[in-house]
């Protein structure tokens, strides 16, 4: 019996360990491939969404989670090369700053403070030079690193990219601090974005320009500023001319492969859906059932006051002015008993029903131009308009989590209600990868968006 146990027990144990130690190998069946694309020099052009802007600013941690940077890490697995971003110096890593989330008020509104705003408990290492540009914006420290691959410029539009479209009267290098920091002193008054991108030699590109041709106007409640030539809705003629020039340049006349992305509808972002007319009315009616929400509409020359309806959208900043006190007016801001007895919410806090349809119609027209231009130059299209519409209407499940366009809890949009969180940018990168894989018969692996930060709650 002893020899039996001595022989069989250890043998069985070892057999168990030997067979049991075989971890099934699932990786051997996975093949990655670049398809027909050369990813060795990837260049990304676009605006803040491309630069990695989030929570109201551009800063190093945000840039590292931009969708082009995430894409470049995936491209590296299929022959992609280095990807340089125009980062700020280490001791100025907070760049232009960002909003700080400090909790909720006792009515449940989030407390979001910008750098320098009273009550902000965070200390920032900003990259301000202390000077102001002719546009009134704070200048940022010059970028002194290698030629970047990520050429996203927060704030830029198609209209402001091509100086010929405005007769050269608004040198963008002197107006936009994010463009200003990438140019030398001699270039700043003369080089426009079109010239700047013509100097690159991409083997693959992504182009997500066009958002600000509608968004700047929309986020200001449909009020354009007389002093800012780029604050209105860009007309289709100049958009077409500019977009074709940009596409021709970046694709080297159709010889370089790339993707153009369409413009999302502004109504699908928390900036416009977080503060709801119905909720504000209910709040007013709780203190006095006769009260309602009144807004200023019409034009600057011919303003008119009316009651807000569910077809109007309130901007995110309106939350901090609604209910406030105005000297000489008995009503809190936004409240009133009638159009003539009220303290109406100023126009820049509202995207009223007329403005909404104008903006959406223009967005559709510009997207038609984007699609047509892409076809002309053999460029694939990532339909970000449909992508964001789907998220806004039914949310999106990511690896057992539910995400949506809700402000904060939705996890996809950052504290400014416009720009995605790192998780949102990862989702966008996966969408670009899906289009690349389909169009170019590639097998670029996707990322797990849940590996990227969403909103950090205090």
């Amino acid at each position: 019996m002893n020899s039996f146990t001595k022989r069989t027990l250890p043998a069985l144990g070892l057999l168990g360990l030997a067979l049991g130690a075989c971890q099934p190998d699932l990786e051997k069946d996975i093949k990655v491939s670049n398809g027909s694309v050369d990813f060795s020099n990837y260049v990304a052009i676009g605006n803040s969404l491309t630069a990695g802007y989030q929570s109201g600013g551009l800063f190093n941690a945000g840039q590292l989670n931009s969708y082009p940077n995430i894409l470049s890490q995936q491209f590296a697995k299929v022959g992609g090369g280095t990807f340089v971003q125009p980062l700020f110096a280490d001791n100025q890593k907070d760049g232009s700053g960002y909003l700080n989330f400090q909790g909720f008020t006792n009515t449940g509104s989030p407390i979001l403070l910008s750098p320098g705003q009273a009550g902000n408990t965070r200390t920032y290492q900003l990259a301000l030079t202390g000077q102001r540009l002719p546009s009134g914006e704070n200048q940022l420290a010059a970028y002194a690193g290698a030629q970047p691959n990520n050429l996203g410029i927060p704030g830029i539009s198609v209209l402001s990219s091509v100086s010929a479209l405005t007769g050269g009267l608004a040198p963008y290098g002197l107006l936009n601090p994010f463009f200003n920091r990438l140019l030398t002193a001699t270039e700043q008054p003369t080089v426009d974005y079109l010239t700047y991108i013509s100097r690159t030699t991409p083997t693959f590109f992504t182009n997500w320009l066009g958002n600000n041709d509608v968004l700047t106007y929309a986020t200001n409640g449909g009020v354009s500023s007389a002093t800012n030539p780029f604050s209105g809705l860009t007309d289709t003629t100049r958009f077409g001319t500019g977009y074709r020039a940009i596409t021709r340049t970046i694709s080297k006349n159709g010889t370089v492969k790339g993707i153009s992305a369409t413009i999302p509808n502004v109504t699908n972002i928390p900036y416009f859906i977080a503060v709801r007319v119905a909720d504000i009315k209910a709040r007013f009616k709780a203190s006095n059932p006769a009260l309602s929400l009144y807004i200023v509409t019409g034009t600057a020359a011919m303003p008119m006051v009316r009651e807000a309806t569910d077809n109007d959208l309130l901007t995110l900043p309106s939350a901090s002015v609604i209910g406030g006190v105005t000297t000489g007016n008995p009503f809190p801001v936004g409240a009133g008993l009638s159009a003539t007895q009220s303290n109406p919410l100023p126009s820049q806090y509202v995207l009223d029903a007329t403005e909404i349809s104008t903006v959406l119609a223009r967005t559709t027209q510009l997207n038609t131009i984007i699609n047509k231009t892409a076809r002309q130059y053999n460029v694939a299209v990532a339909d970000m308009n449909m992508f964001f519409s789907n998220i806004a209407s039914r949310g999106i499940a990511i690896n057992a989590t539910n995400n949506s366009a809700s402000f904060l809890q939705g996890n996809l949009f950052s504290l400014d209600g416009v720009h995605p969180t790192a998780r949102g940018y990862a989702l966008i990168a996966n969408e670009f990868i899906r289009v690349i894989n389909t169009t170019y018969s590639a097998s670029v692996p996707t990322v797990d968006p849940n590996n990227y930060d969403a909103v950090l709650f205090p």
């Binding site: 019996m1 168990g16 030997a18 067979l19 971890q23 990786e27 499940a397 989590t401 709650f457």
Partner: protein, 405 residues
Amino acid sequence: MSTAASAGGFQVNLAGQRNIGMGGVGVGLSLDQAAMFYNPGALAMVRKNGVQVGVNATFARVSFVPQGGTTQSNAQHDTVTPFNLYASFGPTDGKLRFGIAVYTPFGSKLRYQDNWTGRYALTQIDLKSIFIQPTVSYALTDQISIGAGLVILGYGSVNLQRDIPVQDGSGNTTHLELDGKAKNKLGYNAGIYFKPSDKLSVGISYRSQVDATVSGGSVAFRNLPSSVASSFSATKFDVTLPLPATTSVGIGVTPSEKLTIGLDANLVSWSRYKSLDFAFNGTVGGSTTSTSKRYYQDALTFRLGGQYLLTEGLAVRAGVSYDFTPVKDGYITPETPDADRVGLAAGATYNVNDQFGIDVSFLYEMLQKRSQTQSDLLSNGTTDRVAGTYKTTAAVPGIGVHYNF
């Protein structure tokens, strides 16, 4: 009690040490006291009284790769040890046999790699159940015997953990741990055993469903930001997990004195498990309940095994089994990454003398590779789990001793 051990879903079929070596057959046989589990009716035909104790070590290897990804995650290499104990007594030449059985028919222990793709569905589970079954069996004639046992869920525990998609100011992810003990519940196990000739025997048995109900289990959060605490106020939970009924038929064939062959089929009534529903005394993610679809299907297992007496003191065994999974396509959850499985078994018994012997067994299980895509999950309404491919293997050596008196 690893999730991969030897039967579909979270069932564990490691009841009798000799039976394991024969692919888990036993319903149509009267091998030893473990008949109390396989077919209580056969106990009266087990002439020797005795006690037997066995334990197994489950080495399971679970691999997962997400859809569109390139890197696999491996579940931690935990070893669990399902055990069994059977004792029977009764007058030597009498028609009656009494017995007591302790076994662990359901269980699951799985700890996924840190930060794996499915961490918001599950990070780890530890499910245990110990059943106690006092049994009585009566030989109606020389050829037919019947038996029944009262099945008592003597001990049941569950520990379920997952991450929650909320991050605090430092980026740490909130983590949820549910821990509870099941209430004691009763069921029954009954069977009929028919031996028309020396060479043939037939059995049929039924083990009833027992619900594992946790009432007032504890809910604990880690890394929860204080600003969202009101949406995560729960401290207690209730849940019921059905441990399904099994209907079995088996045939035993003894072509010679030395050779015994068994052929079994089991049908487990998993379709009673439609969803896993939690109720909380407060909120979790703003809601006081949570429900997750299962819609398990009734599942069949086929088993074939044999025992050969080499000498008086030494018997060797071998067996195969094919187990259909209760988990539907597109419904795979991380806590039970199940698939159809093939089992290969071998075993031996060395009888030191008339009374005392040692039983050893070895079972190797291969679950088929199984995948689901995100569009599968969307169409089934099962987006609370992850898309990707799972594959599992398990090696289960076991040893037992028996003493007849």
